[in-house]
């Protein structure tokens, strides 16, 4: 039920904006590289958006600005009506590497954000919630296992739980499954779709796989490099829930072709 509601919200495109970036630019002072120029992004509640572009076009820079890790040089960055001026608990983030700490059990890794923000007692209390989340991602029974016994995919599932434990308003995902093999990646993408729907999550994904962007997203921000700018925002109106066999449909194919065309044009510039 919540799933279809989220999908309806997203496709209607008129639900409340959660995250708004307006005319954001970033010049790295160190080497004067203009990484971003005049980028505007609006994330609606419960929607899934992706940013795609060639390597070096500023995707990670954009995500770091959204995460409050680095300041923008120009423009406005507003999350839930509050300007972003540093890391915040309503932002959840995930990287290419799971980055679980090997001296902590899976569940201890998951409650780490709580331990850091609210102390040890709160972290102990949060373990119940961590168990629920592990159940959601299919890691029930691995609570007290140390990370070196988890496979790459399992580690990323645990990282998803760690991201969700603080109940963030927006999930920022920087190529989260690109270190996995292709089969695991497809499966994790479907899992991600399901989890986001269940949690009514607002997600923003960095990827350089066109197919991955299309299968997951409501909106795809296509970027072109040097300096990093938006080429176009492509709306994906495939029905939800998406399944892997949609990849073979003509509609999927034409979307992929269209985005590839945009990217090639960006490269040619």
């Amino acid at each position: 039920m919540p799933l279809s509601a989220a999908a309806a919200d997203a496709s209607a495109g008129n639900s409340a904006p959660v995250y708004e970036l307006t005319n954001v630019g970033k010049t790295y002072a160190r080497n004067l590289v203009i990484a971003l120029e005049d980028v505007s992004v609006t994330l609606h509640r419960g929607s899934f958006s992706s940013v795609i572009g060639s390597s070096g076009c500023g995707k990670s820079t954009l995500l770091k600005i959204m995460a409050g890790l680095i300041p923008p040089s120009t423009g406005r960055v507003v999350l839930q009506d509050q300007p972003v001026t540093g890391p915040r608990r309503d932002i959840g983030m995930m990287f290419q590497q799971a980055t679980l700490f090997p001296w902590r059990t899976t569940v201890e890794n998951i409650v780490l954000p709580i331990e850091i923000r609210d102390g040890r007692a709160a972290a102990v209390k949060a373990k119940d919630r961590a168990h629920e989340l592990l159940d959601v991602v299919g890691l029930k029974g691995f609570e007290d296992v140390y990370p070196n016994e988890l496979s790459g995919g399992m580690a990323q599932r645990a990282a998803i739980c760690r991201m969700l434990i603080t109940e963030p308003a927006v999930l920022l995902l920087d190529e989260p499954f690109s270190a996995l093999d292709e089969l695991s990646r497809d499966m994790m993408n479907m899992e991600l779709q399901r989890i986001c729907a269940e949690q009514h999550a607002t997600a923003f994904l960095v990827t350089h796989s066109i197919a991955e962007a299309v299968i997951l997203s409501d909106h795809i921000y296509v970027m072109k490099p040097r300096p990093g700018r938006l080429a176009e925002v492509v709306t994906v109106d495939l029905p939800r829930p998406r399944t892997l066999d949609m990849i073979t449909t003509p509609k999927f194919g034409s979307l992929v072709d269209y985005i590839r065309g945009l990217l090639d044009k960006g490269e040619a510039l």
Binding site: L69, P87, R89, F95, Q96, T99, R117, N148
Partner: protein, 286 residues
């Protein structure tokens, strides 16, 4: 007949039997090969003494050495003067190691965590570290006298540097992802240090501790050689000056046992504390 049977089975039905070639020496158990090397060593030793290749003052026979080992062992067990001497050396080593750990860890954190430490303190540490540290022994004796203080100081002085280096290297071991993750969680500098950088640096710190454990023994004994006192080093020095070579040999052997015990203690602690880091004890394993 059996050959005919095998031939009757088509190739595709046969199980693949793969005999891996392992050289004979690789298959011998470790205990056996170690005993073998020891036996060869004893044999060569016995041979060289009984053929009169070396003077008995330079090299006693294995038999003599063994007799003296028993004698010293009895003396140690009965709590006689040798045990008192050993106890003094043990105290020097333990105090020296404890001091080196406290100073080395503190300096290591200062150097590894602050830009000031890295820029302003590290160069001096590197400069001192390249000096032959035992050359400071007479200074310590002059400052602290002939008691155990001067030995503790030299032992600590030698063991501190590897611990500083290990700690600083450990703090630098944290990868970019972990740092970024802690930043996104809004962790303070102290939280990042305690919950991430220090635990992540433990393998390097233990490497420093192990080198320190070897250095602290060398420091205490050198201190006793050069600064007198009543420790085990003094016993060795006296025995050597009396040309009592078997005694020197057995004293060194007992001393090595103590050194080994200290090293084993550090390794044991490492296994407990850094249980999650396979590479730091793979290889120490049987």
């Amino acid at each position: 007949m059996s050959e005919a049977d095998t031939k009757a089975i088509p190739n595709s039905m046969q199980e693949t039997v793969w005999v891996e070639e392992v050289s004979f020496l690789d298959r011998v158990p470790r205990s056996v090969s170690m005993t073998f090397v020891f036996a060869v060593f004893l044999g060569l030793w016995q041979l060289s003494t009984s053929l009169g290749l070396v003077s008995p003052i330079i090299l006693p026979t294995p038999g003599e050495t063994f007799k003296d080992l028993v004698f010293v062992g009895k003396n140690l067990l009965s709590g006689d003067y040798m045990l008192l001497a050993l106890w003094i050396t043990v105290k020097e080593v333990i105090y020296g190691f404890a001091l080196a750990i406290v100073i080395g860890f503190s300096l290591g954190v200062l150097v590894g965590e602050t830009a000031f430490g890295e820029r302003a303190i590290m160069p001096y540490l590197v400069a001192i570290d390249t000096m032959p540290k035992v050359a400071f022994a007479p200074l310590f004796v002059a400052w602290l006298g002939f008691g155990i203080e001067s030995k503790v100081a030299l032992a600590a002085f030698i063991a501190t540097f590897p611990i500083v280096v290990g700690t600083a290297a450990g703090l630098h071991a944290a990868d970019e992802n972990s740092r970024m993750l802690f930043k996104t969680m809004g962790a303070s500098r102290m939280q990042t240090l305690i919950k991430m950088k220090l635990p992540m640096g433990l393998p390097q710190m233990f490497t420093g501790l192990k080198i320190g454990a070897v250095g602290v023994m060398a420091g205490a004994i050198t201190g006793e050689f050069l600064g007198g006192g009543k420790g085990f080093g003094e016993l060795i020095r006296v025995a050597a000056s009396q040309l009592n070579t078997p005694r020197v040999f057995s004293l060194i052997l007992y001393l090595s046992l103590f050194g080994l015990a200290l090293y084993a203690l550090v390794t044991w602690t490492q296994r407990r504390v850094v249980f999650w880091h396979k590479a730091s004890f793979v290889g120490n394993d049987e």
